[in-house]
Amino acid sequence: MLRRLALLASVAMCCLAQQPRALSILQQRCIPCHSGPSKKSGLDLSSRELAIQGGDRGPAIVPGKAKESLAYRVASHSEKPHMPLQSPKLSEADLTVLAEWIDQGAEYGAAAKAVASADAPLPLPNHWSFRKPQRPAVPVVATVERVRNPIDAFVAAEREKRKLTAVGPAVPRMLLRRVYLDLVGVPPTKEEMDKFLADPSPNAYEAVVDRLLADSRYGERWGRHWMDIWRYSDWYGWRKGNDVRNSQRFMWRWRDWIVESLNRDKSYDRMILEMLAADEVAPQDTDAMRATGFLARNYSKYDRDGWMQDAVDHTALGMLGITVKCARCHDHKFDPIAQEEYYRFRAFFEPYDVRVDRVPGEVDITKDGLSRVFDVDVQRPTYLYVRGDIQQPDKAKVLTPSVPRLFGFPLGSIEQVTVPLDSYYPDHRSFVQKDLLAKAKADVEQAQADLAKKEEQYATVGKDVAKLSVAEGYEKMRVASDELALAKKTLAAAKENVVALGARVAADNARFASPPDAAYENFATEARTAERKAGILKADEDVTRAQMELDKALRATPTDEKMVGEAQKRLTAASASLTQATDGYHTVGTVYENKSSGRRTALARWIGSPDNPLTARVAMNHIWLRHFGKPLVPTVFDFGLNGKPPTNPALLDWLATEFVRSGWSMKAMHRLMVTSATYRMQSSAGTENNSNAAADPDNEYLWRMNPRRMEAEVVRDSILSLSGELDLTMGGPDIDETKGLESNRRSIYFRHSPDTQMEFLKTFDGANPVECYLRSESVVPQQALALANSQISVEKARVLAAKIGISAAPEAFVKSAFETILGRLPSAEEQAVGVRFLQREPDLLASWQVPGPPAARAREDFVHVLLNHNDFVTIR
């Protein structure tokens, strides 16, 4: 800032009219790339001499001759490459200023030195997405009849500019099917369709929209979209060994949080806050805590750096629509993000780690629990890695967290947070104490039962021994006796453990009481004694068991060396624990730090700020993409200089500001979008609109709706829904991905990770759990095979046929099947073809000895054919 002032002050003294303005233009638009050690094209524009000397392409400025100056030629776009690269062209006024300044001799004046400073921070390009969106006025358009709400006006304005004519609205049947699939992910039932068609109210459609947005299936449908963007993955690693190497166990709780949050229309800024920092802003709210799955998902057992990279990259890609990844090794090539800024962004995440807290009813945290994040070390330093090499941290400088300057608006203050007892000592919660004590008591009962069994066994062996040889008898008695001894020790240890645990709980309660219980020391001593005693008994049990295992290993023929070794190791360890000194008692569970850095809260509030230029735009682009089949900004995760500009910038900015104005309500925005006239257009180009197709073949400017293919989950869920067998149970643990064709739950509930994906979903371009900001929509024969041959389509077709009415006459059946499955009536030709099939197929089926009554089978086959119809997977 000081530098800037100095520059302006010195320039003001100069006599040449255009100098200050020209230099200011250079400074803002050219010098950012053309100066310093990494100057582009070898050109340095920061001083007159260097500018005249020029770069790889020769002199940039010829004083007195603007038209011959390369700098002017590329800036005025009379020569390529057009400058500033991938940024808006300079205004005509600015170009005139530059031309006059060069024509006047291109004097830098006293400002030269100030401009030249190579270590000046990167000035910011005036890129559209780095500036806060200003709410544009809704355009006045000629085609008012196509305008239902502002969205339509913005779309119509672009159409009119290009002389495109909007096609007519979709027929009601098509529209209803479209909006059902879009909002809840399953088609309307025949009854719902009929009801809609019969509703004379002018707001019949809006009523449906409201009803669907209030339907809990909405949260599941849109939850999956956000799971794509937030890269939901169940844990993966080594499933057989139960070894979590990536992501975390119980991620499904995060998935449930997503679904519930959407259904409750939780504001988007709040969702961001909870995902990034629920542990800081709502430390006692275990429901909100589930949101931190967003960060827990990045966990990587063997690669902390990769984990941090993912947290940084995907927070930026998903929420901010910028790629910061490049700046890990060097200053960003496209966007003004310095390498140091990358690491300062990382510093927000540096202190966090993941852990599993207990949930009521289960003490084993590998079986159930709440995976969440917390700051394990608020002091953990962040260093810049030279060239991204983790072996080369630049330890001279500990980097504090901050946001890239390109956003042009600052981070709020970072306040350290003191977290409450329940959060920093989760096992102190009374339900955990209760569950642990109950478990300890259950262990005693188990040990007692086991002992009874061993006693009986011993008695039996004693009776049978007479029938055996001496050697055999001895061996059996020895084993039975050893096992009995062990069972006794197990019971003793379990009993003492109940006492010890009770004492530790009492000591914990005294210690963490507020104020601490005066008798704490007594409780602590008692706990230590009890724990010691229990420990000795437990060690005694372990030694006995280890000894037995060793015996067994030694007696095996041939001796199993590996087992002997392992048994010996266990024996040594168990014996050692007998002689270990202990001081104090052990708290019942881990006590974590009672403070959190507050960094993630600050970041989340900054991302979710109405002043953030990107957050609302990026979210709106994602929602728009999923309603209209194509995004406004084609590079959905890159709004930077390397991304593509929006096809309709005013619309995007209006949506972004409207989103913020609505209190970040997604449902409000869904409603706006799906009730717009734009959304209600037909998707077919029609025959009369060939000029549209010629002028805008890719429908960039929405002269019609985009037809789409159902996403993988919608294909499966729709088949189930049509058959009436879709199980609408919500939430809960992930279901084995191999059960997808048998279980009737919605697709969102199946295990989904890089190693485990349902084949059926994968075939239809299901989300890539590593990164999926935009789903691909491939057309491959495997999809046809999945619909033709999979168990789910064949079996559900039979159920559906029965539902439609297996004994209906061919005419009625064909009509009803079309309505039910494709949401439309058959054409006369289709009807005729269908009827003919139902009339002729039964005899054929009989001749092929296909089992079952042929007439019914033909109807089932007909239903199956309609599931394979192009119009089934197509959303028109």
Partner: protein
């Protein structure tokens, strides 16, 4: 076929008869061929009829693509000068002006100004070379098996591309940098231009993990504006289960399924009339028909058990190291044999830039990678030859760019778009020849420079196609997109 099938659907049979084919779908597919791409068609323009423009020399292509950037100077383009000047800065050698060469600029389309980094410290060759075969072409010691086939190979040592980031992977297939968007790949042009050799198999098959989304993803075997039906179909090389969902549904009989497929096709025909402009539907209809035939055809093709022991060994199926890529090469041959037009085989996907991307530990990395592919590729060439198929099958060995003559860090090489090598064999390509050359240190392609599309043009030429004639109205192609056939290597 059962006799009582005769009365089945007279109307439909009439339709079939019109098309002169046994199965509705095929006819419908043929009817739809090519139309999708240019609805706003200009007068006089017609979609390709599936016949070559002139007499072809080759029928099919096997395209082997190494992901990440193979070091040209350590494979097919020996540069002893790198040993001589090892460790010296470029500026201190006779080649000091190489980075100032106008070719540096000429090479680039400058999508991103200043992105191209040149490593200045010359790095010695990490492997030795020997003269091979009758032709005496030098090939590095990492390729003992491919070397035996050198007299069937035309090495092109003067490739250049415009990019030195891995977007060049897609660029090698489309001719356009990833930032310019998606364009049809060479495989899709071939698919678009030529009719089918076997109606039961996809004509454009992709084996191996395709390039990562970072660098083009599925678009590196996509068809962009030609329409999805011309894109590559990914198949798993998994002989026990090569094609998911290819077994009949529970309780379904073969005839019953066929009957259903026919009805679907009939409905599709009706829909097509209603939505003539729906490219996705067109593609789906075709893929549906193909799917029906693939159910039996693909498992047949993947039956490696039909191959004898000698053949299996030839591809390295008996060795852990060579088996994965060997199976792909064998599958490629079996596909080619069965009539697949274009088999695109990827090697080196690693969820990022690619395994060949030797920024560090080049020696170890390239040694291992070459070992994985050398035997299988040689096996493929030899096998094709012994079956007489090499005469009309073009095999291409390619990668997105070369690697810098200078070192990156202590033991790697950086990306190098200014000069690199690929090779071709078979299908009327001369054997035992070298075309083009880089300078003394392998920096610039200096003789007979070839942009990546020259390889495309050569392939099309051998297949009897004129790229220019394939152009679609409204989708203007530049000279550089079309490239020029490398006549010097054409027999």
């Amino acid at each position: 076929m059962k006799p009582n099938r005769n009365f089945h659907s007279v109307g439909r049979r009439g339709f079939l008869a019109d098309m002169g084919m046994g199965f509705t779908g095929l006819a419908l597919g043929a009817m739809l061929n090519g139309e999708s791409v240019a609805r706003a068609a200009t007068e006089g323009w017609r979609a390709p009829d599936g016949k070559p423009h002139f007499a072809p020399k080759a029928k099919r292509v096997i395209w082997l693509f190494m992901i990440g950037g193979v070091s040209h100077v350590e494979t097919f383009d020996p540069k002893p000068a790198l040993n001589k000047y090892a460790g010296m800065r470029l500026g201190d050698t006779p080649f000091k002006d190489f980075d100032q060469n106008p070719l540096v600029k000429k090479n680039l389309r400058e999508v991103i100004v200043g992105l191209h980094k040149i490593e200045p410290n010359l790095y010695p060759l990490q492997v030795g070379y020997k003269k091979r075969g009758q032709s005496g072409i030098e090939v590095s010691d990492w390729w003992p098996n491919v070397s035996e086939c050198i007299d069937d190979i035309a090495v092109v040592r003067s490739m250049w591309t415009t990019d030195n980031n891995h977007g060049a992977q897609m660029q090698f297939h489309t001719g356009r940098h990833v930032l310019e968007g998606q364009f049809p790949t060479i495989g899709s042009w071939v698919h678009y231009g030529l009719g089918s050799l076997n109606e039961n198999l996809p004509q454009f098959v992709v084996l191996g993990e395709p390039v990562d989304t970072c660098c083009g993803g599925l678009a590196a075997h996509g068809a962009a504006y030609l329409g999805p039906e011309h894109g590559g179909v990914q198949l798993a090389v998994r002989p026990e289960d090569p094609l998911a969902f290819s077994k009949l549904g529970p309780g379904v009989s073969k005839e019953e399924q066929k009957s259903e497929f026919e009805l679907v096709s009939e409905f599709s025909r009706l829909s097509m009339a209603q939505y003539p402009d729906d490219a996705a539907m067109r593609a789906r209809i075709k893929s549906y028909e193909l799917a029906f035939r693939m159910q039996t055809a693909v498992p047949e093709v993947m039956k490696f058990s039909e191959e004898n022991e000698a053949t299996r060994r030839m591809y390295g199926l008996d060795q852990e190291t060579t088996k994965p890529f060997g199976e792909m090469c064998l599958a490629a041959r079996r596909m080619a044999e069965s009539g697949v037009r274009f088999v695109q085989v990827f090697h080196g996907q690693n969820g990022g830039a690619g395994k060949w991307d030797a920024h560090s530990n080049l020696k170890k990395g390239h040694t291992d990678l070459c070992q994985q592919v050398d035997k299988p590729i040689a096996g493929l060439l030899k096998d094709l030859k012994q079956r007489g198929m090499l005469d009309d099958t073009i095999v291409v060995f390619a990668t997105e760019f070369g690697r810098t003559p200078g070192s990156e860090g202590t033991n790697g090489r950086n990306h190098h778009p200014y000069g690199f090598s690929v090779w071709m064999a078979g299908g009327g390509i001369k054997g035992g020849v070298v075309n083009g050359a880089t300078d003394e240190i392998g920096f610039h392609a200096v003789e007979n420079r070839h942009y990546v599309t020259d390889i495309h043009a050569t392939i099309l030429h051998q297949l009897g196609l004129d790229g220019k004639k394939l152009e679609v109205p409204g989708r203007k192609r530049l000279e550089i997109d079309l490239g020029n056939p490398i006549h010097e290597i054409i027999a």
